[in-house]
Amino acid sequence: MQATEKAPVTSVKADPVLLRVQGAFKHFPISGLGGLSVRAVDGVDLEIRRGETLGLVGESGCGKSTLARLITALLPVTAGKIILDGQDITRLRGRKLRRVRRKMQMIFQDPFASLDPRMTVGGILQEPLDNFGIGSGSDRTRRVQELLRLVGLNPNFNNRYPHEFSGGQRQRIGIARALAVNPSFIVCDEAVSALDVSIQAQIINLLQDLQNEFNLTYLFIAHDLAVVRHLSDRIAVMYLGKVVETADRNDIYDRPQHPYTKALLSSIPVPDPVVERDRAPISLKGEIPSPVNPPSGCRFHPRCPIARAPGVCSEVEPLLEPHGARDQSAACHFAGQA
């Protein structure tokens, strides 16, 4: 068993890609509506490279959090594959799945809901150590204190309860929990969205420090493009269950190819009152359509400022293809125009 497990590990060391999402679908059936389902994630391909931070942005309800739960195997995929470190984890169950979780952790959105109110901070941080049999009794206590120190909390807080902490402090505890098992990949599901702006900056700096320290790979999910820009190496934009554009951080901000990305970027306020006054943000028509019955062709066409509908945009679904800079792809028939 040792030998069979070791072999792929050495071979994938050369692979720069840590996580591959291949044609991932997640449809939630709506009971009582005969076959209808919410198509939360509807065919996503994604690659995350070792040591990088991939920012995933999109409006609320576009399927970001569902995708995070598919990647972390908290939800089973309807179709498609999630490959972590060369291992297909989509069909793993029970003990095998638990073993994968030593490599991959998650930081949750709501610091008030992600810590068990009935457990002490020490208990919360020790749980992963107990589950994976890391260290002996006294080692674990020491490790818990070390983790608290690592995220900037008093190591003697281990016998306190979560309700005694502020939102930012709780999020630090959540980060410490994710670090407990020494993972190589961490999914941050809107990890700073629930925090005040000043606290957001602290947490983002902490995440960056930890990334440098432990050579972590992040999938950073947010709906705030400014935060994502600061943290990410590459960025993927999601719309209604699909990835519509991926590119290096600078390319996507300087030369967005997809009209949806453009609209998202133009919604970021500029911290200069003169520029801001004359700026004309692109405002999209209507609302995000229902993921139960997405529009035909390009899903964005009913709201798109450059769509030709009726025409190719309402009839043919565009594929995610190279456009613009190197390493940049967009799913648009008229990428780069507008």
Binding site: R69, T72, L74, R98, R101, R102, Q105, M106, F108, Q109, D110, A113, S114, L115, D116, P117, R118, M119, E127, P128, N131, F132, E146, R149, L150, V151, G152, L153, N154, F157, N159, R160, Y161, H163, E164, F165, S166, G168, Q169, R172, G174, R177, A180, V181, Q202, N205, L206, D209, L210, E213
Partner: protein, 308 residues
């Protein structure tokens, strides 16, 4: 790893005085005067009941201390006696000391009321937990079964069970458990359904917690508050049902004096001596009221949304 000390920005390390969750709850409970009064009454009742049954004291501790008579010694020359120094509550139709019987009855009523809750917790808790945790067809099956059990009139079903098992302390105990678990099963299922969706449960799964550990360390402790409250409200309900059964003549068998038995005994001579019914009835009423107040207090004290 040790080199990482200080890489994070120092944050506010001031945290208020540590208070455990249970200590917090106790502080909130103490503020509720009715609940505390209820608790005091229940403690007095428990002492009364315990003294009446204390091993090594024939006739009970109260008789030895000359505070009450013997609950079983008959004195046919002194029936239906009015309250006096010797018999503070008077005597019954067979001349037995009424107060001794009320005290002794407390032990039976309280034991039934409290012990049945453990059976209810076991049956209702496991069914609700299984339904909520597994969901799907298991949930459907268990909950439809619960609905069916719930649909029968409670007292009628208890009567059927007691009739089937034969009247004894244990058959009442089992019958009450088999009938009154449905509410708790529904409650636990609802609790588990909502807790299952919480991020801390996802986080526990993410950090490799096995299903059994997940139930025991996260789902059970977090659903405990409302369960304790429901069980507390269940105590007076069980006492009342036992009294009703005894009144109907199929509960505790004479000469064992449960409060229900005493009310039934006294009912025959209610016009000759209404005290026969009034004293045990007051005992039942006080006990029910006390547990209800305690339940109210616990509900507020254990609700994490209630701030101190």
């Amino acid at each position: 790893m040790a080199t990482a000390i200080g890489i994070a920005q120092p944050v506010d390390w001031d945290v208020p005085e540590q208070t455990g969750l249970w200590k917090d709850a106790w502080i909130r409970f103490r503020r509720n005067r009715l609940a505390v009064a209820g608790l005091v009454v229940v403690i007095i009742l428990v002492v009364m009941a315990f003294g009446a049954r204390l091993p090594g004291t024939p006739g009970g501790l109260w008789k030895i201390l000359h505070l009450a008579g013997d609950p079983f010694t008959q004195d046919v020359t002194n029936t239906y006696a009015l309250p006096s120094l010797q018999h503070p509550m008077g005597t019954d139709i067979l001349g037995r000391d009424l107060m001794a019987r009320v005290f002794y009855g407390a032990s039976i009523s309280l034991t039934i009321g409290i012990v049945v809750q453990f059976l209810i917790l076991f049956i209702g808790g496991s069914i609700g937990m299984a339904a909520g945790y597994f969901g799907g067809w298991i949930d459907n099956l268990l909950m439809r079964f619960t609905d069916i059990m719930f649909a029968f009139p409670d007292l009628l079903l208890v009567l059927v069970f007691v009739a089937a098992f034969g009247p004894s302390f244990w058959s009442i105990f089992i019958a009450l458990g088999l009938v009154y678990w449905t509410n708790l099963a529904r409650l636990v299922r609802g609790q588990v359904l909502s807790i299952k969706e919480k991020e801390y449960v996802e986080a526990a799964i993410m950090t490799g917690t096995s299903p059994l550990k997940l139930i025991w360390k996260h789902l059970v402790p977090n659903s405990l508050g409302p369960v304790i409250v429901t069980l507390t409200f269940g105590i007076p309900a069980a006492i009342f049902t036992e009294a009703a059964l005894s009144f109907l003549g199929i509960g505790i068998r004479p000469p064992e004096p449960s409060w229900g038995v005493m009310i039934e005994d006294g009912y025959a001579g209610i016009f000759a001596d209404p005290l026969q019914v009034i004293f045990p009835a007051i005992a039942v009423a006080f006990t029910m009221l006390s547990f209800t107040f305690i339940g109210d207090g616990l509900r507020d004290a254990l609700d994490p949304r209630m701030k101190r």
